[in-house]
Symmetry: C2
Subunit: 422 residues, 2 copies
């Protein structure tokens, strides 16, 4: 098994699900983890999970980030650069070489679209070569933008944490509103606004923040926004605004780029993460109120101390189900989550979607889940998201802080030549 | 009673301490709270706390921010502007006018240096006028910079939360370090580095973050810093850095200002809060590694979901003790916290310090509590800070989120002319 892309609060729970389920099946003789995602396969850095303590595996159920290590290495079969396509082909062959050397017959990859694409390509090549391999994907992303699945493990926890933080920041802003105050909180989400939208759960009454949520799906128009801020401040003496980092103007350009402050980083890449600062500039110039910003960065996706039990349980179930499917003979699929019923009687289950179908799709927030003004998600969204944050888990503490698990990572002996992937 | 300055996770616990203790004493007939600190006294906006539900008062024990409302209104007796001194004098007289109108004989003010100064001035004027008034301060500040007291209620909780967040962000950075990565987390602290220093508690082994803590007390020198970052990345493949917002260069100027990006806000004030972005620019240009920033803003001081039980209990004790002191006849003092013993056998108690002594002092992080290089607090600091984050409290949840209390705020009838303080 391997983990890929940005960490979450519960991706390790999926890994625990894979491990514990795998040990239940006689067909599976050894359980290995790749160190740092597909890079660990390429470089034959493979962790023998039988060497880990049972308590460490149990600890994965509440430990954030990615215990096996992650990476952003992509197999760029879709690239226009022939050199990159050739490299992807070489990588793919190398992966199979390593699998064969260690008699690896099941491959479970927890990740997002890119990871499902990688898993799909490896499986196809195995089939071409007549090597019996079963490949099953495990959904993972705080962004919640994978298609077919009801939701993605990681999402429920990130919005539970952010809603808690926004609720607390709103109380702070409320306490300080003897003078009109605006509070801006920037959250993740490059294309889809699922994360920003989720903070609406902090709002129990009209006066509670967030008062405005700026979603990447809704083009930012300054006039409408300023009018809304002024109205909110007139009503409550304060305005709490959540900004998705990928917020764009009507021209489709990033807001953070528009304002020019953060346009390029030291490498010349367009940097995200300055959206709240840009909006602050606009609010202070146009509304003349004090404005404070916060930007949670990676803290939000790693906030296991605020894990949703529902999310954690579904993450575990996704991992365990992936193993069952593979043992049953299924391959080239990703586990998806389904829901039946609603409210407190909701029941989650699993299904499957084709790896290649998942790889080329992105699920955006439906426009009819957002109010007409485009400033807040509506009842439809709340009905969807509310159950995902239910339940708290208890984390063992040591010296006043969480006691998270860390794998010892005993590597198995290498059998292939060096490869040197980065 | 009144609350002043920036909110914390536990200032409401101090208020609950005052209220519950006050009802135990026959001498005290009514318990009032000023809406938005001293502003509520000036404008005669006074909350009758007997009208609140008992469950709401109990809820203050885990509700963040400032339930009565806060303010930053100062009595500027020390100003060089004669108009401001005259205004302070008018304010002081008005406060007494309102106290007399409602037969208010005890005044408890929870806040920092400025609040203790205000409380002191009001008390002195009452004495001049022969009005029997007992004034006791309750310490409050996440900054932990009040003198005489062992620590300030609010500090233990802010560093428990930040250490948790830094621990989790460090795991995230660790998971993603297939390529060298630097993570920068900006925390509060304009003058003193107590908050930034507290995040060292997240560090259980050398490889754990934070690897470097940039403290306002230690002038930032780019060469030393860059060398340290390079060394850390060579060793662990990653570097987690905590930056105090008030970090200054060798010339005493703010780093955020030095880099020029955030120099002035829309009102022409020097804006803090850009220190991490400035440091990111330096790291990317000089070390050429990917750098991610996070800035917790007001979220950190309001993070009641991560309250330290020790901090909460001491906050409550400070409030309750203030009432006992006043009833015993004491005035013009602030409650201070004391400690006896160490480690798990530590016992906290209370004492007193003169209001005027507190008002004009600020407690900085001692230089011998920081390592020689100035990059991390040492064992002396850890011995001091560790006990302050011990213990977790259980917060009732509703729909997956904390269920915080909110006062109904029934105002008593006004008896004085309008004043119009802002």
């Amino acid at each position: 098994m391997a983990q890929s892309g940005g960490p979450t609060a519960v991706i390790n729970a999926s890994i625990a699900g894979v491990i514990e389920e795998a040990y239940k099946h006689e067909q599976i003789e050894e359980v290995y983890g790749a160190q740092n995602g597909i890079l660990g396969v390429l470089n034959e850095q493979i962790i023998d999970l039988s060497e880990e303590k049972n308590s460490t595996i149990k600890g994965l159920l509440y430990t954030p980030a990615a215990a096996l290590g992650s990476c952003r290495h992509k197999l760029s079969f879709g690239s226009k650069d022939p050199a990159k396509v050739a490299e992807a082909q070489r990588d793919c062959e190398r992966i199979l070489e390593v699998f064969k050397a260690h008699n690896i017959r099941y491959f479970f990859y927890a990740g997002g679209n890119d990871s499902m694409d990688t898993a799909d390509k490896v499986s196809k090549l195995a089939q071409q070569q007549g090597y019996d391999l079963r490949v099953v994907g495990v959904p993972k992303t705080v962004d919640n933008d994978l298609p077919f699945t009801d939701h993605c493990p990681g999402y429920g926890s990130v919005i539970k944490y952010l809603s808690t933080a926004v609720m607390e920041a709103s109380r702070d802003t409320e306490a300080m509103c003897s003078q009109p105050t605006c509070s801006l909180i920037e959250v993740m989400g490059r294309h889809a606004g699922w994360i920003a939208a989720g903070t609406v759960l902090a709002k129990r009454t009209d006066e509670d923040g967030p008062h405005i949520i700026l979603l990447p799906e809704v083009p930012f128009t300054q006039e409408t926004f300023i009018a809304e801020v002024k109205e909110t401040i007139a009503k409550y003496g304060r305005c709490v605004i959540v900004v998705g980092e990928g917020l764009c103007g009507p021209d489709g350009k990033l807001i953070s780029f528009m304002a020019g402050k953060f346009s390029k980083d030291a490498f010349g890449h367009t940097q995200l993460g300055g959206a709240a600062e840009s909006i602050r500039g606009i609010v202070e110039e146009e509304v003349h109120v004090k404005c404070r910003t916060a930007k949670l960065g990676v803290i939000q996706r790693a906030a296991a101390h605020c894990t949703s039990k529902t999310d954690r349980d579904n993450a575990y179930m996704s991992g365990a189900r992936a193993v069952q499917l593979a043992v049953e003979g299924k391959t080239d699929v990703m586990v998806i989550l389904t829901r039946e019923g609603s409210g407190e009687n909701i029941k989650y289950g699993t299904g499957t979607a084709g790896l290649s179908d998942v790889a080329n799709n992105e699920k955006m927030l439906p426009r009819d889940w957002i109010n007409e003004a485009g400033t807040l998600p509506n009842e439809k969204f709340i009905e969807y998201a509310q159950p995902l944050i239910l339940g708290e888990i208890s984390i063992p503490h040591e010296g006043g802080l969480p006691k998270y698990a860390r794998l010892e990572k005993h590597l198995i002996e290498k059998k292939c030549p060096e490869y040197g992937a980065k």
